[in-house]
Symmetry: C2
Subunit: 302 residues, 2 copies
């Protein structure tokens, strides 16, 4: 099916130079995920022609304003649009309380079921698994509880070559076994399932790491991803500031991508001190050549 | 000094067709007022070249999302910019609690003093009076407690013609009296103060009425304003819906402007059902010719 990522916002702390704060839209087949929810991201969905109602799951890394302030307006707009499909939001605890208070003050209600799932684990955990996708949340290192997310396409059953079904006169049980990757035995001889099925497309993966200090804490969890988004708030001459605020530099994001053996790196969460982002890109590319800037509206086919 | 209004957003309920939700920026001399705070209005300030730090007072009509959701991000951004000037927010009760919870969840702090003043009165009240401006809040009729605001330039002291000071040999006490508009008596004869002072520019006024049902409840309070903003969510064929949702039609806004003897009418808070706003304008103009649409970025010198 393929994963397709659209950047809705990439700026840290507050919008600047037309760049919205952090938010991403990940198409995963029959639905879309929202990753973080910076102020006004619903305007970006509209601008980039993305369908709000495809979103069924929202993953919030942490409760700083630049990652959550677009949420109440968006949830409200879905209600006005008469949505009935359920919505689930994964985030560190507190979001439900804040949204509920807003609903009370504005005497709002929702036309669809809304569920908040609190992320509290100190280790990684699979928070969602469907036929299409598996989502793993893992703690990263920031000033308040913060999670990264890894998205892996679920492996589909193997497709059997119909000619082989005939030639081998396969039983229903054998077909089931082969589809799940098991060999079969005929006249005491093992026939490898690979000889009977079509080659399968590899599962694609995306890892989102923001906001986080430079750390190898979660390195094992983002290994070999096809696309890695790692925050790069500052240039390396601001490393001290990065440590203090628990952020990373462009060089550090590139080091993580290298160590993780990621195929491609996307950097974002740019400090408002940088109007021109090219120096950040150049700094990362020196370490990890296949780096791109996360720019509002850019699409990345994973 | 003159009042200058800039429309930051004019759409009701949710952003649509590039129109932001309700927010206005009113320049009143040495400072600016923000009237309502729709999602992402800080992006509009930036786009229209308006200075966030000129804002020292914020007037919130009511706590529906389309009038408050831009507030947390804006207050946060001022902090990031190192603001030290105090900020005061006037609104129906609840906003402080909601913002405080957000600050707790995001462990945020502010670099400047922030005061929330709750509007609870059932009648009109002067909520702010400076040398430049007087602000009166008054209840309007909506689904939740909602206030309109009237802004009147404060009348300056009269300026005395210096030639007259000499010719009449005015005393310090007489000068004070004339400046405040009192006549003086010379040899038993009254000299009208108008003969001694320069003509004074009339005080300009602006009234903001949103969101509100069509009602004459506050008509006396918006009499003779130079500019009246009145919500016009629907066309008149939606009058039933307007009554039910406690909103007004374009025709009704125009009737209010006529009855209030306003000099100019600005209509806004457009339903997302209207992509083209010209029918709303035409409907209002049939009753009140001097009507304008509140369009994002438009400026009105009052």
């Amino acid at each position: 099916m393929g994963l397709e990522l659209t950047i809705l916002g990439s700026n840290s702390a507050r919008p600047a130079y037309g760049r919205f704060t952090t938010s991403q839209y990940l198409n995963v087949g029959s639905q879309a995920f929202l990753i973080d929810a910076g102020e006004g991201f619903q305007l970006q969905l509209n601008k980039f022609g993305l369908k709000p109602n495809r979103i069924q799951n929202i993953f919030i890394s942490h409760l700083h304003g630049d990652h959550i302030l677009g949420l109440p307006g968006f949830l409200n707009s879905l209600n006005l649009g008469g949505r009935t499909k359920p919505m689930t939001i994964y985030s560190p605890p507190g979001l439900k309380e804040w949204f509920t208070l807003f609903q009370e003050l504005s005497t709002g209600h929702l036309s669809y079921p809304l569920e908040f799932i609190d992320l509290t684990s100190n280790s990684s955990q699979v928070v969602l698994q469907t036929e299409e996708i598996k989502v793993t949340a893992f703690p990263v290192e920031h000033r308040i509880p913060t999670y990264g997310f890894r998205f892996d396409e679920s492996l589909k059953e193997f497709n059997i070559d119909p000619d082989k079904i005939k030639a081998l006169d396969l039983t229903i049980t054998e077909i089931k076994e082969i589809k799940s990757g098991m060999d079969i035995i005929r006249e005491g001889k093992r026939i490898p399932f690979q000889d009977i099925v079509f080659p399968r497309k590899p599962s694609k993966s995306y890892a989102y790491c923001a906001d986080t200090n430079y750390t190898d804490l979660f390195l094992d969890l983002i290994k070999n991803v096809d696309l890695l988004y790692h925050e790069a708030t500052y240039l390396k001459d601001m490393t001290e500031q990065a440590r203090e605020r628990k952020h990373s530099t462009a060089e550090e994001a590139a080091k993580i991508a290298t160590m993780a053996r990621a195929k491609k790196l996307l950097i974002g969460h740019f400090s408002s001190r940088y109007k021109d982002l090219q120096p950040l890109l150049a700094e990362a590319k020196e370490i990890f050549q296949n780096t791109y800037l996360a720019l509002d509206g850019d699409k990345h086919l994973i």
